[in-house]
């Protein structure tokens, strides 16, 4: 995606996300306030974010690839276990991957 197509996707996704928020304010309360709906919605968020972890950490150009990103991700997990704030978790991953690449690893 580039240029006009990327702009289209950015605006369309922004409008869609806003519309979803607005729906919550407009529909009758009992439509959405169901445990089953809340459970599925929570799990959908978990599924998408988990799949994105895998795709970002271990794939490249449509292939499964193992490189310094995985070590960075492992370091991030340690930071999360130590209750580090989000920004620190992200920085730790970057620093570990950058150091390994500086040392000549892929």
């Amino acid at each position: 995606m580039k240029g006009a197509l990327l702009w289209f996707a950015v605006v369309a996704a922004g409008v869609a996300t806003f519309a979803i928020k607005l729906v919550g304010h407009l529909v009758p309360r009992h439509w959405l306030a169901k445990p089953q709906v809340a459970r599925v919605a929570a799990l959908v968020t978990v599924a998408l974010l988990s799949a994105l972890v895998a795709v970002q950490a271990a794939t490249s150009g449509g292939h499964v690839v193992v490189d310094s990103r995985l070590a960075g991700l492992a370091a991030a997990a340690v930071a999360l276990l130590a209750r580090a704030p989000f920004v620190v978790v992200v920085l730790v991953a970057a620093v570990v991957a950058a150091l390994l690449r500086w040392a000549g690893l892929p």
Partner: protein, 236 residues
Amino acid sequence: MARRATAPAVSTAVRQALSVAVATGLYGVSFGALSVVAGLDVPQTMALSLLMFSGGSQFAFIGVAGSGGSPGAAIATAALVGVRNALYGPQVAPLIDVTGPRRLLAAQLTIDESTAVGTAQRDPAAARAGFWWTGGGVFVLWNVFTLAGALLGNAAGDPRRYGLDAAAAAAFLGLVWPRLTNRAAQVVAGASVAVALVTTPVLPAGVPVLLAAAVAVVVGVAWRDGPTHPHGTALP
């Protein structure tokens, strides 16, 4: 009694709101930087923070777009990550009780943080203050720090050299981590990783991530003691 309790309760809510806004705003730096690394320019990155204004959805969009996904896959993934925001409306609307254009503003500011701070207050005036100050504060700081991050990312050059591709993976881990509080969520997370890795070589970019959402729907319908609360996190 309730009236006398209002003023201190409101200032407590505002203080909470501002500390949440600063913490959340700060990680807008990582979104801004990772967005330009994923191939968006600075105006496109800002458009996401202004229009979409939901951290999980924004990271999801740049994740799919950056890995070569189609516009349809990027839009669908961002929208699906944002579905939980629809469930906040029924919690927030009775607290703030607004109509007309202010309702549109309230909808845009309905995110994890503003819902969490607003619904945590016992006093009605404090609940309103908590929602508006958190929503407004996060909006301003999230956008300011997104811009700072985007300019920083632009200056960084080769993202791999600085480990920014690993940082993107860590961002998603940080977003999902506080949500893994029950067995069903952990099973869905593991299955989603497996589905994404197994199908990546055979499906177009972006589709494996959407396929994982289908796993969640199946587990959510079949598994009765799963999570019942859509927000388990202090992130947008």
